[in-house]
């Protein structure tokens, strides 16, 4: 798949995954890496950007004996953004499919 397409789609995929449930970095990377061939580095960079943009927030959960684990969660504006992107994506796919037929 075209790498630029994947990067564009990664945003909506990550937000949609976090809309399902709060996740920590590795957990999210496994889910996404299984389905999409994008580098995990891109995922972490994207998460940082989402945090900086206020779409995603983080919180720590005590990891028992180990260090606290950082979870990512959607903020209210992240949820709104997620809905917008999913709608845009679905409309885009429908239109492209129509043109390809």
């Amino acid at each position: 798949m075209n790498p630029q397409w994947k990067k564009g789609v990664l945003e909506v995929v990550v937000l949609a995954q976090l809309a399902k449930k709060d996740q920590y970095g590795y957990e999210l990377s496994e889910t996404i890496h299984d389905q999409m061939d994008v580098t995990t580095a891109s995922l972490y960079v994207l998460l940082k950007r989402f945090v900086n943009d206020g779409l995603v927030t983080t919180y720590l959960v005590d990891g028992g004996s180990g260090p606290a684990r950082k979870y990512y969660a959607l903020t209210e504006s992240g949820k709104t953004k997620c809905h917008e992107l999913i709608e845009q994506w679905l409309a885009f796919v429908t239109n492209v499919n129509t043109l390809l037929k």
Binding site: G25, S29, H33, A41, Y44, V45, Y59, E76
Partner: protein
């Protein structure tokens, strides 16, 4: 393509490549990557597989640099949307100021801010504070602030409903505040509030002094074990208790109920409803308007305009009664002009 296959090599390459970005942003990323490798290894992945999944480290460095911008400093900004916020800080003095901002901003070069959820509340914790003064801007209905020794400056918006500040050793300073409910607690630090307005203000310290200057609230409650209390206040009620410290009040208040054990009480101003001032060992010195004053002392003198009395004295014709009690101290009463 940089063919790195071990965790240590990857982390080192990442740290070298990003050494120019801000210290905390880098630390944060390295901690995250460290956790990634630990999680992966626990899941049975090899370091090589994990490095491959991350992708070329040079691409990682480039993507990260692009993301944080040319200056290499990440712009951290936390927006707190819940109506309950609790901020815990290890140490410090606290200064509260009025501001316009509607965000909780912080400078990541000064400290790490870690937030987590507890039900509907978001808890924010500051760690690794690297400067003696930090500045935070918060907008919310409620701030709970727990601190024990760095200097914290909080800028609150005009719409602030409640501020709750708790320090161990730190002082609490506030100026020009309009806040419905303020609850300020310090174990050893002083509490100093100037030019504040609101409904309720509560100041409690064990060893610190309390000083309120030009404060205008409906209700003031104070408590101090060893510190002195100095109050310039206009409002409905003042209630408070001291043990060793002196209490000095200037103002116009409907009702005052204060008790001291060993300290003196000094009041200068207007009282409009039944009120009482009691101390066991201290002197009481009153300068007020024409209300009915009942003064009692066991061993001390009562001095009304140079006339000395013992034990019990009553004067004034006002509709309200001010009761003064001391066991061993003197009581002095003057009328305001």
């Amino acid at each position: 393509m940089n063919m790195i296959t071990t965790r240590d090599e990857y982390m080192t390459a990442l740290a070298m490549g990003l050494k120019d970005i801000d210290h905390d942003g880098l630390n944060d990323l390295l901690n995250e990557m460290d956790q990634y490798f630990k999680d992966g290894i626990n899941q049975g992945k090899s370091e090589k597989e994990l490095c491959e999944a991350l992708g070329d480290v040079d691409d990682f460095i480039q993507e990260f640099k692009t993301m944080v911008g040319n200056n290499g400093v990440t712009n951290h900004e936390l927006m707190v949307s819940n109506d309950g916020v609790s901020i815990d800080v290890d140490n410090g003095d606290v200064t509260i100021k009025m501001g316009e901002s509607f965000q909780c901003n912080y400078d990541p070069s000064v400290f790490d801010m870690i937030s987590d959820h507890d039900g509907n509340n978001q808890h924010i914790r500051f760690e690794s504070i690297r400067k003696s003064t930090i500045s935070i801007t918060v907008v919310n209905d409620l701030i709970n602030f727990l601190s024990s020794s760095h200097q914290i400056e909080i800028v609150v918006p005009g719409s602030m409903h409640a501020v709750n500040i708790n320090t161990e050793n730190g002082e609490i300073h506030g100026d020009g505040l309009t806040i419905d409910t303020m609850v300020l607690t310090s174990k050893r630090g002083d509490i100093e509030i100037k030019n504040s307005h609101g409904l309720t203000i509560e100041c409690t310290t064990q060893a610190g002094d309390i000083e309120l200057v030009n404060c205008d609230h409906d209700d003031l409650r104070f408590g101090s074990n060893m510190g002195d209390v100095t109050i310039g206040f206009n409002g409905k009620t003042i209630t408070g208790q001291c043990d060793l410290g002196d209490i000095e009040i200037n103002g116009d208040v409907n009702r005052i109920d204060i008790k001291d054990s060993k300290g003196d009480i000094d009041f200068n101003g207007w009282i409009h409803e039944d009120s009482s001032m009691t101390t066991s060992l201290g002197d009481i010195d009153i300068k007020t308007n024409d209300i009915r004053i009942v003064a009692k002392t066991s061993l001390g003198d009562i001095d009304i305009d140079g006339d000395y009395h013992h034990g019990y004295y009553q004067l004034g014709n006002g509709s309200a009664t001010l009761s003064l009690h001391t066991s061993t101290g003197d009581i002095t009463v003057d009328t305001l002009d």
